[in-house]
Amino acid sequence: MQEQFGRDRCFNTPLTEQGIAGFANGLASYGMTAVAEIQFADYIFPAFDQIVNESAKFRYRSGNQFDVGGLTFRTPYGGGIAGGHYHSQSPEAYFTQTPGLKVVIPRNPEQAKGLLLAAIRDPNPVIFFEPKRLYRASVGEVPAGDYQIELGKAQVVKQGRDITVLAWGAQMEIVEKACERAEKEGISCEIIDLRTLAPWDVDTVAKSVTKTGRLLINHEAPLTGGFAGEIAATIQQECFLSLESPISRVCGLDTPYPLIHEKEYMPDELKTFEAIKASVAF
């Protein structure tokens, strides 16, 4: 990238996440397009103030005189790489509670390109979480041309009748496998990739749940305070009379991300499969 775009535009920085975020805020406030990379989402916390108090409020606090709309943060998140508690966290919910930020998480390389281009061109600051265990594991065709995938839109990746299974990022592979198992037992699953967590596509999810009557949400972050809770609260409000069973959450455990117990921690295929069966049998 340095050879293609020059060292002035693509460069290393001193090792300071708050500096990277602050610098990116300033650069974007001067009308530039800034893509700031935080090496691991586990290390985004020194930049939390710059993101939550500055990026998210730049336009608001100035009465739309200044903004950092050209700013996108890229950061790898999530576990499954034997990285322990400082190379595995999924901190998306800390940011979804901050009005002024968009939060995007792609599930595969083709989605990543289209969503990242949309994030960079979106006139608001975006945090783009990249599922790091897919960097090496995921193989997929990526169109060569310029294309964007609209932010704020979930995608129904598989139609089904009996239950809606909702996830994002690397967990999409997991829920797809769980749904394959369920299909073999005669349960028809509708699978949705949320793709954008803030603002999230309530309509697509509510429409699906109205049809299926059941919802399971899967995410890697710990259960308590995770984004599944927000989705569950909204969907029970929107779809109360259509629900056939309680909304189910299959999430990470409420513990620091464990190194040797990673497999137990993960909301894996079998936990998801069991929860699908329990929901349908309720």
């Binding site: 001193p14 001067y30 005189q65």
Partner: protein
Amino acid sequence: MSNAPLTNETVHRVSFLDKASLHIPILRILQADGTTYENAVLPVIDKTLAEKIFDTCVFTRVLDERMLGAQRQGRISFYMTCTGEEASIVGSTAALDKDDVILAQYREHASLRYRGFSTEQFMNQMFSNEKDLGKGRQMPIHYGSRELNYQTISSPLATQIPQATGVAYGMKLQGKRNVAICYFGEGAASEGDFHAGLNMAAVLKAPVIFFCRNNGYAISTPTEEQFAGNGIASRGVGYGMHTIRVDGNDMLAVLAATQQARAHAIEHNAPVLIEAMTYRLGAHSSSDDPSGYRSKEEEAKWQQHDPVKRFKLWMINKGWMQRS
């Protein structure tokens, strides 16, 4: 490597450096009686500029008195004065081009006035009315003006420091011959953002002037409880940038330092740190009472160093103003 430590001497017994190892002089041009020091090198200044500087100082002092009174009467919720620091603020802003971007902390409204913010605009902001450029979303004194290249104030301290580095880097990428100036206090210089912003500016070569108003107090915390090093200036040297300490109550010293800092920043795409030694004559804010942490004697001593009076005497000596 060009940035390798500049060690060209080897010793064979333990020998530590201390803060006295770094000799930092203070720039003074204007004496208390309004005359300049012998051999002093004056900034570029003519009568028109001097009058604009003086008028801005007088306006700000009147504004501060009236609005602090308005706050005491319950007409506005909050206020902060820049009394005592006018030379630091106005003297530095007067060295800039109108397209240079100002990222202030909160006590720099004199700088906004210098750029042309109207009395009505000040009132609109403080009264949070429908004409406020910030749409009534922030507490009084959190001004911002796109037109005047004055970025909107953010309450969290020091966040503007790395941002100023980013703004300046954007100027460099766009081929502008401008600088960003970043104001902050010596208390804010304890925040991580200070260190991040200065180091990035030096390493990435951003044309930014870091202007520290070392006014003695971070609300109630005195400097001796804020840092143990040789002021803030010593840190600029540590980060590898041009650094100067000036008498912040000396309008001509501040103006001269900032004029030359600006020229250096643009010519070399490099940051400069200015530490202005001054004193916050007023309270931190309308919510603060300094009598709990500093003496009347100390305040009275600094009253003697009033920066506006000193500059006025100089203008009278120059024949640019009538004695009144």
